[in-house]
Symmetry: C3
Subunit: 139 residues, 3 copies
């Protein structure tokens, strides 16, 4: 058993920019000497989040619309009133979706479904450079 810590660097456009990170995660698993275990993905940020989805433009725009409806960026936010940075909606969206994701791998392969990709969503209101934490634990 061992622990291997890595990272994935991303440049995002913000405003619910959704990026498919499946290939990078799969590569980190393959490049490790581990066969079976879990990969923990973590966003070290309060305005971005992780989940899985079928990465095709219809699903992505449907997901963005959900967040536009449930957490409308054009309404008032107490965070914006206090700090004036205009990303109150980003904080609430990120807290709702969550910063971490744990995925088992077996025989060096992520246990994703055929139509299931790992996505990073940057909810911030401007372009950002991000560095996700990717940590493997296994045999």
């Amino acid at each position: 058993m061992s622990v291997i810590s890595g990272s994935i660097k991303l440049s995002t456009r913000g405003d619910a920019d959704i990026q498919d990170i499946t290939r990078e995660v799969a590569r980190l698993v393959l490049n490790s000497d581990l066969t079976d275990g879990i990969v923990t993905l973590f966003c070290p940020s309060a305005t971005s989040a992780l989940t899985t989805i079928e990465y095709e433009s219809g699903c992505l725009s449907d997901l963005r619309r959900l967040f536009d409806e449930v957490v409308d960026p054009n309404r008032n936010f107490d965070h914006n009133a206090r700090w004036g940075d205009g990303n109150g909606h980003s904080h609430v969206r990120a807290a709702l979706l969550g910063p971490s994701l744990t995925i088992p791998f077996i025989q060096e392969t992520l246990t994703l479904g055929t139509w299931q990709q790992i996505i990073f969503i940057d909810f911030d209101n401007r372009s950002r450079r991000r560095e996700l934490v990717v940590q493997l634990i296994g045999d």
Copy 2:
């Protein structure tokens, strides 16, 4: 420390069918030779998800109603417009709730609360056969 990979097979009716998988997960923990550690549950699917709830019919129908309101299946979805498979709402719901759950176990026992059960929700719009990934890491 070791890694043990298992699975749980389910037949679901789709349409937010909710199944209590607590007993199966507890059995996989008991049948392993591990005493303390974590169990990672993962849905290898883009239209199903996992969480915990008190498994009684009131809570289950309240949770289903939340998803009917927040992600109404009868509205238009870009996924459906592109692919014609009618399960656009299933994808958005599954992405929102999330595909993974990690639960510690101590002395061979899941650390669930008294009224807390592990549930699998199949958001797809038809009956499906599913196989959840259950991976234990511990001592």
Copy 3:
């Protein structure tokens, strides 16, 4: 590699009381003999949940408002009709946000962002005593 199980005791006011548990989690990591690994946090309760957020009063009230809107406590809940305990909204909110959170640590330090804190939210409709499970796996 080893597994270390701990806990964090909390007294909450209920009604979406949000508590910052970052310092307690960081201390459990520092007090262990582990350098790199993951910490799994788990709520053994069906009416509370975990996520991360920037812990300042604006973000916290924005998050509480989201839950008041999406899961309004003043409407009817089937759980309340059956059991009469008035916390139907608490169950739905906790199931939506989720009971577990997994965070990597590297060189004895949680990989949180600068403005990112770990929060416990008690959605129950009364004050409660809680004991969160905190389990570390690592080297």
